[in-house]
Amino acid sequence: MISGPFCVLQENRQFGSKMTDSKYFTTTKKGEIFELKAELNSDKKEKKKEAVKKVIASMTVGKDVSALFPDVVNCMQTDNLELKKLVYLYLMNYAKSQPDMAIMAVNTFVKDCEDPNPLIRALAVRTMGCIRVDKITEYLCEPLRKCLKDEDPYVRKTAAVCVAKLHDINAQLVEDQGFLDTLKDLISDSNPMVVANAVAALSEIAESHPNSNLLDLNPQTINKLLTALNECTEWGQIFILDCLANYTPRDDRESQSICERVTPRLSHANSAVVLSAVKVLMKFMEMLPKDLDYYGTLLKKLAPPLVTLLSAEPELQYVALRNINLIVQRRPEIMKHEMKVFFVKYNDPIYVKLEKLDIMIRLASQANIAQVLAELKEYATEVDVDFVRKAVRAIGRCAIKVEQSAERCVSTLLDLIQTKVNYVVQEAIVVIKDIFRKYPNKYESVIATLCENLDSLDEPEARAAMIWIVGEYAERIDNADELLESFLEGFHDESTQVQLQLLTAIVKLFLKKPTETQELVQQVLSLATQDSDNPDLRDRGYIYWRLLSTDPVAAKEVVLAEKPLISEETDLIEPTLLEELICHIGTLASVYHKPPSAFVEGSRGVQHKRLPGSAGSGESVDSPETTSTAGVSDAPPAVIPSQGDLLGDLLNLDLTPTTAGPPPPAPSSGMQLGGMDLLGGGLDSLMGDESEPLGGDLGGTPAIGAGFGAAPAALPASFSAPVSGGLDDLFDLGGGVGMPMGAYSPPKSVWLPAMKAKGLEISGTFARRAGVIQMEMTLTNKAMSVMTDFAIQFNRNSFGLSPAGPLQVLTPLSPNQSIEVALPLNTSGPVMKMDPLNNLQVAVKNNIDVFYFSCQYPISMLFVEDGKMERQIFLATWKDIPNDNESQFQIKDCHLSSDAASNKLQGSNIFTIAKRTVDGQDMLYQSMKLTNGIWVLAELRIQAGNPNYTISLKCRAAEVSQCVFQSYEAVLKN
């Protein structure tokens, strides 16, 4: 019965004599429970209280005192508030283990909720919520309802949190009882603390209900929150700011006005208030146009409070530094002049030192490099091994980052090597290897110094680095063979890293000095292939062996090939993750630099937050809220009719364009399309469209979040190619080459820069060849590793474009290699209106990751070959289409005659049906048909001698006109 934790506290018995509370920690006698039982049932109030205190003390140290449950509960009906609180504390701990007996307490709670003293009413409702027994929750509802409407704000603020507690126990009950609505009403409460707690409760509930539109954030509620922000406690301000960060302003003006009202918080003494305010500002800043004066002002306002955070207590400094690390990656301009504040202080805790060092490297630039290097050199003489290593590594990173400093960095590293401190030397050699890889053939003079330290290297990474250097520069090191041979002696004891490096280095050496090193290379090849169990090593050994034996020239080309340079970006956080982390500034996610889904269990945290799109982009079509609000003001039909409906429409000759087509697809409906949904989640993030987190749209649902997370694994399945795919592709390629068509195809442009895709660069264009739409891409590998397993998929788009076959990249793409691919497309994919209409969102996968980009295709690609309309029909249709649907454009600076223009346009399937000349002005009547059956009629007016053409376009789906016009312009001018 009497167990461990008690005995260890015995030493405190001495305090018992002082008649203070610590004596309760010391009762370790046998039969204690019985004694306590007796005391609890004593008539004397004082004795009772003492006994309950003892019980609580036992509970604290982890002892099971649940046997006393009925006795303790009996003490509950008392006027003594202190005793009551103690009993409540006990109840919260043990009610769950004794649910039936817990019911005994209900009456007292219900009675207390009616007490004239607001403190007691609040205490009762607060405690009841903590008693997590299902049976009790039923009794809780009525008192809670009353307390939510209590006249006293203290009771209301407590009741607001209680709703969150109850929701955690029984979500359904809370919904059924209508507590959520009452909670929403509290957002308009007159008392700021009630508002803050209601916001906190709603935010938490909403997190587990990503679909509900609970925290219905609209400009009115935002305004209420901003008002409460000025008045409530520091904690309340944090709740409100964190909630505000989930809102997406409608436009840059709203964004600016919220920012203006949030900036005063940057001067709050509470660091958490400051960081949450920074989060709101960093997020809403995305919406502000960069040329706005206010944007610059805001940037300037952010730096000082961030620096001030560094004078807080060390734990907070750590949180601040982790966040600043993210902020400097997203917006380097904010902190670029603040390098000095990140200098390490001698007695900073190690976790602060390491973080500061990281930020120093990120801020290093040509302007401050001298100072940074001087500091780093100081740090390299400190005591903490990890810190010293990181400092040495940092010097190397500076060399790679700031080219002008490379020389100074190298000499600093050499100085450090002279100190002969073992781990410093090893670390220095590892980074010098990287410097060689960035600036080949520049600093070989230091090799001699490095070789002197060969014996002291005992870490695999340093040994491997040294061996690499020897192999790479074998021709300049006289005794390279001896050096490598010395490593070879203990070959089997080396780690794989070193073995692989040694193998390669000796082969390099052999290729450079074949005469003297034959024996050595044979030795290493046999060690690698015959005596090793490691498959990687054996494989590499065999490859070299065969290469060397069959074609030494080829071997030379392979082994001594020019290597791509390394870049400094390797340690940056991947941009989409960075964006998500920026939305989580101040939270644990920003401390771990991991998305919440990586460390939070269950449904909470799987929502991926995103930064809002930049100013002026109307990419918010997906958010139901914005659609509905936008729909009221400017209401063109927001959808392209699908094929079938359009035909029906044409047959009906329906004159009202607004009814054309089906109703706008519900934003979530498309997500049910099997393979598409995992892309949907990802592509949304590409659009930079901050989905309303509580609004229950695309990215928000847990299923999709999960799907997105699993994308790399799931992708191949959804890409499963039709059997004929390969053949089609061959055929198409042949067709493309054999039949040069006049169809215009824009020059290739870069769609996916290498920086955003871990080294994969994609540039491309679209073309229509022999009636087949093709996406022609150049894939370039700018990374250092081989890329394989390419696959491609499109998001739903306006015209249902989708790949007709798999992406044919048959050979692995090695570093610095480019490959041309033509991907045939069909138009039978799922349809969703995009903005702009010809926008196409693409996901490309390879063995490294999935990347997303968007591009725009010229709509002329979709003009089909049978787009020539009969004259009569043309006339009838022209009249038939209401004038509202006509749009006029100017094509400037075009010097073609009308015939030449007509010919050129015909090449792109724009057919001239008739030509009229009136007053020296040529009028061409033209038609074209899109793949989905939409006809576009045009009248092109060309005045001899005037380089400006006028074009009128008529179409039932008027929104295509803009794109068609662009195509005209492109075709005519090229």
Binding site: M193, N230, H584
Partner: protein, 442 residues
Amino acid sequence: MIGGLFIYNHKGEVLISRVYRDDIGRNAVDAFRVNVIHARQQVRSPVTNIARTSFFHVKRSNIWLAAVTKQNVNAAMVFEFLYKMCDVMTAYFGKISEENIKNNFVLIYELLDEILDFGYPQNSETGALKTFITQQGIKGQLQTKEEQSQITSQVTGQIGWRREGIKYRRNELFLDVLESVNLLMSPQGQVLSAHVSGRVVMKSYLSGMPECKFGMNDKIVIDKQGKGGATDDAGKSDLGGGSGKQSIAIDDCTFHQCVRLSKFDSERSISFIPPDGEYELMRYRTTKDIILPFRVIPLVREVGRTKLEVKVVIKSNFKPSLLAQKIEVRIPTPLNTSGVQVICMKGKAKYKASENAIVWKIKRMAGMKESQISAEIELLPTNDKKKWARPPISMNFEVPFAPSGLKVRYLKVFESKLNYSDHDVIKWVRYIGRSGIYETRC
């Protein structure tokens, strides 16, 4: 939100444990003890993730406070809360020690119940808490209805930090401008970084609900006012003593929650209704034109492998009429020091083997003076390859002026309902400049 809160003693025994959320079990208590308190290595981070549970900890003397959660909480808030909790406990029972915590465990539970509800921090202003939670048991039974509603409106209200109906016979206030000046200097005397972090601490004994306005020589304000007449040029060169400077550039400042931040943002005026008693009105930071009260000039010479010669000169750099106090210079010595001989002109110097340093103390020193110490350090021969890291020479001192140059221009008090005016309030202002981390590399 915070799922649970534990307080441990240095051995890792639990003194207080309060669990707010179901997802935190008793095993979390042990996980922290095993992985952090009993960890062999030095703590590498104040946030630890063990089995998908995150632990935030702070240490006060040998007491560990740990907040536990399984959610993506606001990390800055959790730490701020832990600090706040320490403040509250200190305000109630003094130093945070094992004995005090055990003696007050009922009180602590009561406080925790009040200031953290379901893991959400609630009003934690000691002034407000003390109105209804006391060490002598809870008030409540004897309160009148008015008192009760006054308590609740204060706890939840806009001015949660002050109660109504405060009366003093003598209205008095004390302002302390406390600055710590930080310096990192290269051996050659180049300032690598220097900043002043200052605090304005106010002790107010004022009746009623006084509206206060605080003014200082903030450059932005002065320049705005100075636009009418050119008064800005005078006194800029007067650096010695730091009294003559007209205005200072404040890099950043933060305020107690009583200050109306939106008003500061728009007009840069500092207006507030102060809490009763002592509190920190504002913190600020400056980096420009700092008066460095002392300059340390080190000279270290290695004589052979077993001997070091150290000479350090300190120069005071302020008005000769002012006196610096509690001056202490700490010169680190290598770990293999076997003996030290010191000669100093002023004060007392001693080699403290346990601290690996020569500590040189001077009680008082006037401005524009200079003093010197020289020492010979004998070293034991070692075969340790590792070089001595040469930690910087650090300094401590206290000076009766503000190294940033900050001046209080006014503190006006308005209380319209009671019959005292700004002139009746007795006001005291004091400036103290202390060394923060004041280091010179050698």
